[in-house]
Each structure stands twice: as C-alpha cells, then as structure tokens.
Amino acid sequence: MSRKIIGPFSRVEGHLEIDLNRNGPSVVDAQVNSPMYRGMETILLDRAPMDALTIVPRICGICSVSQSVAAAQALAKLSDVSPPKNGQLVTNLVLACEMLSNHLTHFYLFFMPDFARDIYANRRWYNNALRFQAQRGNAQAEVLDARNRFLHMMGELAGKWPHTLALRPSGTTSTVHAAQKRKLKTILTGMRRFLETTLFGCPLNDMLALKSRSDLHTWAKEGRGDLSFFIHLSEALSLDKMGKSQSVLLAGGGLPLENKKLFKQGIFKEQHFAPLPVDKINEDISHSFMAGATMQFPQNAKNDPDLDQNNAYSWCKAPRLGSDRCEVGALARHVINGHPLFCDLYAQEGSTVKSRIFARAWEMAFLVDAMENWIDQIDPNAPFYTPFTPAQNGQAFAFIEAARGTLGHWIGVEDNKITNYQIIAPTTWNFSPRDQAGQPGPLESALEGAPILSGEDDPVSVQHIVRSFDPCMACTVH
C-alpha cells in the first residue's frame, strides 16, 4: 500500500488536491481537499441584505449566475415578492444559458482532453480522440467560437458574464423588446445547429425521444457526433463501471414558471422517490478545518476557520441529509424528474463516469428546447420588474438547480443587516469529506477501486472520475 498526493488539478474550476491510498492495480481509498479558503459568507455579515446580489456571484466565476439566482430567490422569499412573468422568463433564460455553456465547456475543454493523453496512444480509437486534445485539438477552437456566440445572450439579457447585477428578487433590470426577442431566437438557433452537427450528430428531437438505455445504445451505434464517440469510449474503457457513486440522489428543484418547475424537488433513495426533507439538511465539520459544533444547520451555522482541528483535511464541510451523503447534478435531477431514459440508465448502471457525463450532455438538448419556449412567451409590452421594499428582518432560504446540481442559500436578517448567510453548493455535496461516522463523500467513495494502469504515477482513471462530477471548487470552499 502506498500514499500519493495528486495536485494541482487542471481543468477543474478552482483548487483541488487528492490524497490516494493505492494498492497494486487499484485505489483503496481517497481524501478530497480544496486547499484554499476565502470565507465568502463572512463578507456578507453586517451588510444590507441586497448587497448579497453583488457579493455572491463573486463566489464563483463559472456558475456566477446560479449564485445570483439563488440569492435573488432567497431575498424574494424574505421580502415576500416574486418576479412578473417576463422577469421569471429572463431569469430562467440567463440561468439556462449559463448551465448550457458550462456543460459545453466542461465536456469539450475540461473532460474530453484526458482521452488524448499519451497513455492512450496505442488504443485503436486514439486518433479520433486527438480532436479533443487540450489547446491543440480541432474541437477546442470550434467550441470556444460556439460558446462565445451563445454567450451573446448574456450580453443581451445580463449585461455581461460573469458577474451580472441584472437578476433581482422581483424581476430583472434588463428588458426585451420585439427585435431583441428575434435576436435571442437567432442566438439559440446557432447553438442548436452546433449541438446537432457537432455534439449529437442528429436532430435534438432524436435525443429528446430516447426512452431507455437500449434506445441510447442503438442511437450511439449509428451516431456521428462527439457524444456517440464518448459512448464508444465508455464501452472501450468500461466507463459505465468506473467511478460508481452510491449515494442518495438529491435535487432542490429549479427553473420555475407559473407554479411549475422544469426541475422537480425531491430525493431518490433505495429505489424510491420521496420529498426533500429540508430540515434534515446539515453540515458535518468533523473533518473540516472549521471550529465549532460537529453538526451544524445552515439556518444558524458559523464559519470559523481553524487549521489546527484534529482529523481535519479539507476546507469543505460535509453536507448530509440526516446521516446520508447525497449526490447532486444533471443525472440526479433527471432521475428525480422521472425521465424514463435516466430512470432506466440509473437502474441498470447507477451513477458512473458514463451516466454522469451523458446526463449533462443530454441536458443541453433539453435546455435548448425549454429556452425556445421561454423566448416565445416573453411579452415585450409587459413589465419585467415589480418595485418592492426589501424586508429588514426575517429568515429565508432558497434552492435552485445550477449546472452542477442543487444550490441552497440560507439568509437571516435583523434590522436591515445580514446576521447569517450560509451556502451549500453542488460540489460541497459531491466532494464532501468524511463525516463523524467516517462515511466518505460521494467522490471519495467513487474513487475507491479506481483502476491504475501499469506504469501510472497519476492514474488517468482518477482524472476521469474527478472530472465526471464537473467539480466547482470555487463554490465548494467559498
């Protein structure tokens, strides 16, 4: 048995270090750490509640909008206001734009380049993987161009990305006139074309029509796009068995419109759906560089950094639902949505490198479809914002679905000053350290048994498994 610390990781958002115990051809166990602490929540204390709209997006540059939307929703609940329909539509479009561009960036720039590494040079499929090579592969420039044209939607609706202030508790400061509606449609059509010709190699509707794992495999056999190449890789490298995470699936729900949500809230535990028991969400700091009670609830938690804590190895807290570790993300939310394709895929394969990556890619088709519908519903003559006075006292929380999964914000306000602000980010769930029972977090458990190829010092399987969660360490340790 030997110990090995792997870091720094490129192509993950933020800082990551992994401490592996390895024995012969596989990983025995792992500890996950983000070696950086900024204390974002303490910045918010004693400030006016609306200042959260400026501070929280700056937790994270890659999913900045998701932080803005969660803060705006928590502030809306605090003040008992809601956006008019146009405001909700624009908020949803901006968030979906970020999710989709995040998924695209992750697949092409962060995840796929690992298959073009030298270690795979003698594989039959290697020449096809060179398209994804970091900085040099053809796909890299194509994707940057497509991504940037798509982000023009941010220029139209959010002013800029990252770090917008257009999203407010009661609507948006940006408005959309009739010609702009047309422009949004044009931008979206550009993304549809890119996905159809390059990623999926088929009409989006064909992707949305898949109902089972066998549908998926039939589609992939004839597929011409980059995603079917990934499915072939999954077979060649057994990615459908690699990095299995056995955790409760959790979704906070999100992208609401008129009492319906595109993503439902709930959990999937021991093959059963159940409502999310919000009051059971807690954070265990037994292995975190944090002083205070071992189990904390986000309504009244403290952030007191302390590098001298016994047993601590991570700046990340360990969120738990009761005592369960939970996995969040695209796969979790589509299982919880009850989509037949993902229910079947999850039942047969579980959460693995393959199913997590595929769910995220498939979701791009799903989002384009929803976005087209939202643009159509914008009424340029109706308001986008409702004037309101922020509440000066109270407590509230909000959940949204961000690119990487469920994001929760909890706020407490007294005399117009923030007295508590707690954030549980998606990767905080997925990359949590051990809890007081010694139970590893989802990634830590997914790394157990990871294969090590002969002669490997930094196992490439660890790179695949880590990135298959699309970690955002900036959010994780905020």
Binding site: F9, D51, D458
Partner: protein
Amino acid sequence: MSHTNALWLQCGACGGCSMSLLGYEGTNLLDAFDSAGIHFLWHPALSETSGRPVIDLMIDIVSGKTKLDLLIVEGTPLLGPNGTGRYQMMGGSEKPMITWLIELAHKAKYCVAVGSCAAYGGIPMAGDERLEATGLQYQSRQIGGLLGEDYRSGSGLAVINIPGCAPHPDWIVETLSCLADESLSAQDFDPEGRPLAYFGHLAHHGCPRNEYYEFKASAAEDSDQGCLMENLGCKGTQALGDCNIRPWNGSGSCLQGGYSCIACTMPGFEDPGSPFLETAKIAGIPVGLPSDMPKAWFVALAALSKSATPQRVRENAHSDKIVHQPTRKKATN
C-alpha cells in the same frame, strides 16, 4: 518569432477572470495566443497537465532551468493566518501559494495581475481579517502588497494591473499580446500600472444613459431607464475603464443590462461604505462626484440641467421602456 512562455496561476480566486478570458472574440482565444506567439507552460483551465509535472515545471522556473516571460496571476494572494499563507496551499506541493508567487515573480520578465483581486485584493479584502488578503503590489489603495513597493520584474516594470471583476477579455488578451511583442513600455501605463489604452477612460464614456445623465433625469426604481448615479449607486463617472465603449458578450455592458457600475475596476470597490446599489449622499448631494468635477459646479449644473429637462426625458427616465419619442421636425416647404 520565439515563443513567449506564460504561466497562469490562481490564488484566492473565483475563476471568473479565466472564464472571461475564454470569451475573447474576434478570433478565438487559442488563435489569438498563437498569433502573439504566447505559449502557455500551464493554465489551470486549459492545460492537459495536472499533478506532479506542474510542480516540477514551477521548480524548473525557480531554478532558472525554464524561462518565464509572463507570470499571470488571478485571484487574491492570501497571507493568513498570521503570515503563514496556509489559507491557500498550492495543490500537490505542501507549500503556500504566496511562497511560490514570490519565487516565481523574481524570475518573470513581466508580472501581470489579472482582475481586481490580484491587483488590489478585491472581494476577499471585505471579509475575515484573518485572511490577510492583499493584491500583488497594492493592498487596496496602499502600495506594497505581497511583492512590495520596490518590486520590479525582469523587464524593469512594476506589476502590470488589469483590474475589473471580471476584466474584459480584450484587456487581458491584448495586453499580454503587446507584452509578448515588447510593444509596451512604462509610458503606456498609468502610475498604478494600468494600461492607459483602456484605463485612460471612465466607465461613463459611452454610457447608453448619457442623455439622462446630462439632464439629471434620475431613475427611482431598479427598472427605470433614467440615470443611475443620483439614487441607485452608479459610480460610472468615477470608475476607470472603457466598459461602455467596448461591448461585453457581443452587445452588453453593466449599463446596457440596466444596472449600476459598482466601480469594480477600482481599489476598494468591495467596501463602498454604503450599500452597493444605493447612492450615499450628504444633504441630498452624492458623496461620490464625477472625476475632476468641483462640487460647486456639479451642484450648479445639476440644478440648471434639472430645470431644463425636456418632458420626454423626464417621463422616459421613470419608465422601463421608451414612452415618449423624440419630436420630429416638420418638413419645411
């Protein structure tokens, strides 16, 4: 042309500067760096390499074995707790990031702070004092920072600051490209190390709400089209940057998005002393007046322009869309 070697490191960062960088347009980022001859030894978001080879690379730079032309830093250097730098260890190295930064900065031909965090400390400066947050050569407005007032890179220049939260990708890519072909010298930077090409402007220049500003026709609600300076915290007349001349993500800017400039390019923006989206006033007059404007003149001109405001401008200022069009001149015979 010989390669310009670049190394990009992230300190206490949100990663937003790298994300903004990826959004470079005109050509894509990879072609732009190619055209400038910039070769990334390592970039955390773009490079294939992870783990030990990255640490080995940094060791080789420090030992002088590998030359480093551009050291580019994103995020806030964290000195805490108690000067140890342990709030940010460089992954895989068991060594604080600040120790690496100091060693690497003394080997680099140019040292570039990308974003307000690396330049001045930025958002983490507003939080827990135990972080001991700082910029590379400034701590907020105070010169010094991590590297000290006297620091000069191999080129003889102080740290080059490209502030903004996040900065425009053009500011980053063009500045790095000009450094690569050695077309910038000390005279191209202001006394705080900012490239004058962009930071010789105010965010106010090109503001889409210029007419409302001229007449002091001010917005009262967040959705109003009027000028955001008087009530809603806009600092565009005091913040450096060509933000409203240079479109963001195709066509945007903060003002195009309908919200105030929070002066994110300026040191100390993280702690305005009052809520970000409200204008601090004394006796009804904004505390922060436009750059270079004497207070008495501002007050006099504001009163005059308010009394001269056309009804069209006044009504549009309090609406979320244009309700009054400019009057068309009647055709004369």
